[in-house]
């Protein structure tokens, strides 16, 4: 008898007061965070400490240290390696621009559906098969040493140029496939809408499909951009004086390998921020898709 009455009383009281306040925002709880942080820090210290101890306790460590990590040699080699690295950056940006443009041509040709485009589609398929199947290093060697020897009239004869061409041809095959995946990922309804408005196949690609496809593939392209930045170093095998080549030249004259570490450091300095940027773009792209799906 009393129980339902009190329950009812509680209900009316709640109704009168309105909804309960939102729960207090949880601040950062030092006590709760302390233990996991401590465990994390300790395990990092133990693992890295052990690794450092294993490396430095090796018999040959002092010699390795002098040969690879000599600060003096690093300072001495730095200007030349940096100069070489500037070549890397220039080649990287030029080659990148050419790759993005050439791959777009390949991808567009490959995705044209008109019957008369069939031979061109086939050519692109063969192109992609060939240039994806041959190692970039091999292409750089073939182009960098082979074509200048032909002495073609009207064309540059430098290894740098033809090595760059080899990189463009090879990377464009990959990038074309990335573009194509982006084109295929655009919903079929977009093509139907464009076609129903009377847009030609080319107009459909240009105005409706490609802008969406390119936006879809930015994260995947960023990874290629990072990979390309490192692979420019392959041109050192045909004598292009990039960071790696300069480091090797220093090594050859001093028998000290610290210059290679300098080159490695420069590459990391350039690639790590780009990898973070790629991660950021991927995350942003994911959020955008989730929002669109919602």
């Amino acid at each position: 008898m009393t129980r339902p009455a009190s329950a009812q009383g509680g209900q009316t009281e709640r109704a009168r007061r309105g909804p309960p306040p939102p729960p207090p925002k949880q601040g950062f709880d030092w006590r709760a965070a302390a233990l996991p942080s401590a465990i994390g820090a300790t395990s990092i210290a133990v693992v890295f400490g052990a690794l450092a101890w294993i490396v430095t306790s090796a018999d040959q460590w002092p010699r390795i240290k002098a040969q690879f990590f000599s600060l003096e040699a690093m300072v001495a080699a730095f200007p030349r390696v940096l100069q070489g690295f500037w070549v890397n950056i220039q080649v990287w940006l030029t080659v990148l621009a050419c790759i993005l443009a050439w791959a777009l041509v390949l991808a567009v040709v490959r995705s044209l559906r008109a019957p008369w485009c069939a031979p061109f589609r086939l050519m692109v398929v063969i192109y992609i098969d060939i240039f994806r199947g041959v190692p970039v290093l091999l292409l750089v060697l073939l182009f960098g040493f082979g074509i200048p020897a032909l002495n073609l009239p009207g064309l540059p004869n430098s290894g740098l140029f033809w090595g760059g061409v080899a990189m463009v041809l090879s990377y464009a095959a990959y990038v074309a496939e990335i573009y194509r995946s982006g084109i295929d990922a655009v919903h079929e309804g977009q093509r139907a809408a464009a076609k129903s408005l009377g847009l030609s196949e080319w107009q459909t690609l240009r105005h409706a499909i490609l802008p969406q496809a390119l936006r879809n593939v930015v994260p995947a392209l960023m990874n290629i951009v990072v990979a390309l930045q490192k692979d420019v170093a392959l041109l050192s095998v045909i004598g292009v004086r990039d960071a790696v080549r300069e480091a090797q030249i220093y090594t050859a004259s001093t028998f000290n390998y610290s210059s290679l570490i300098v080159a490695a450091g420069l590459f990391l300095l350039a690639t790590i921020p780009m990898a973070r940027l790629a991660d950021y773009l991927t995350r942003r792209d994911r959020m955008r898709r989730l929002q669109m799906a919602a």
């Binding site: 977009q190 809408a193 408005l197 009377g198 107009q203 105005h207 969406q212």
Partner: protein
Amino acid sequence: MTPRIEIDTVTKYFGTKLVLDRVSLSVARHEVLCLIGASGSGKSTLLRCVNRLIAQDYGTIRLDGVPIDDPVFGKTGLQQRAGIVFQAYNLFPHMTVLDNITLAPRRVHGLPRPEAEARGHEMLARFGMADFARAYPEQLSGGQQQRVAIARALMTRPDVLLLDEITAALDPELVGEVLAIIRGLKDEGMTMMIVTHEMGFAREVADRVAFLSEGAILEQDTPERLFGSPQEPRTQAFLRRIIASGRL
């Protein structure tokens, strides 16, 4: 008088699956024809054949007596005269509302941008979307997107409007605003072929209703007679299911 649309024994296969089976239909000027039937009965396919998004395998479709694959239409003439609106709106997500609706007039029909945009603003104002010209589709509700899609289809001043389940993807409370537009278009005398699952709407707006089953037209009549006293057993069964699910 020649019918606006004349569909003459049209047959279509997807692979070996028969999706349209000798369909014959005609739609007079200013007439509104509703196509009803279960999913997969070929309604949307038929609609898409009318503006050549899909090519039929056999049979002829004529617009004002001219076969739609006749060279008279050129590359874009048919699309100019028969607009289509899709279930999923299919707006271009990377373009503003104004760019979406002026794309075809500018790029296909060569209208200068100022004129196309003037016409676009006019069209948006008519559908209560004047404030959204610079918005992107993802910023709009489903009902607003569908209104833009209708505006886009009307930008080239077509003679025929094809509506493919245009309210099927909408939240129930947004259906009304889209249907109100269609009512308005009917009052203006637009010839329409409407594929719909909104039987109440079909009954209200249609001059004639055609029931499709397994790619064939089983029955066509005025909405009163088709909904009131269907002749074919399959039509009856379909309508019973619709009534049972509370949609009529």
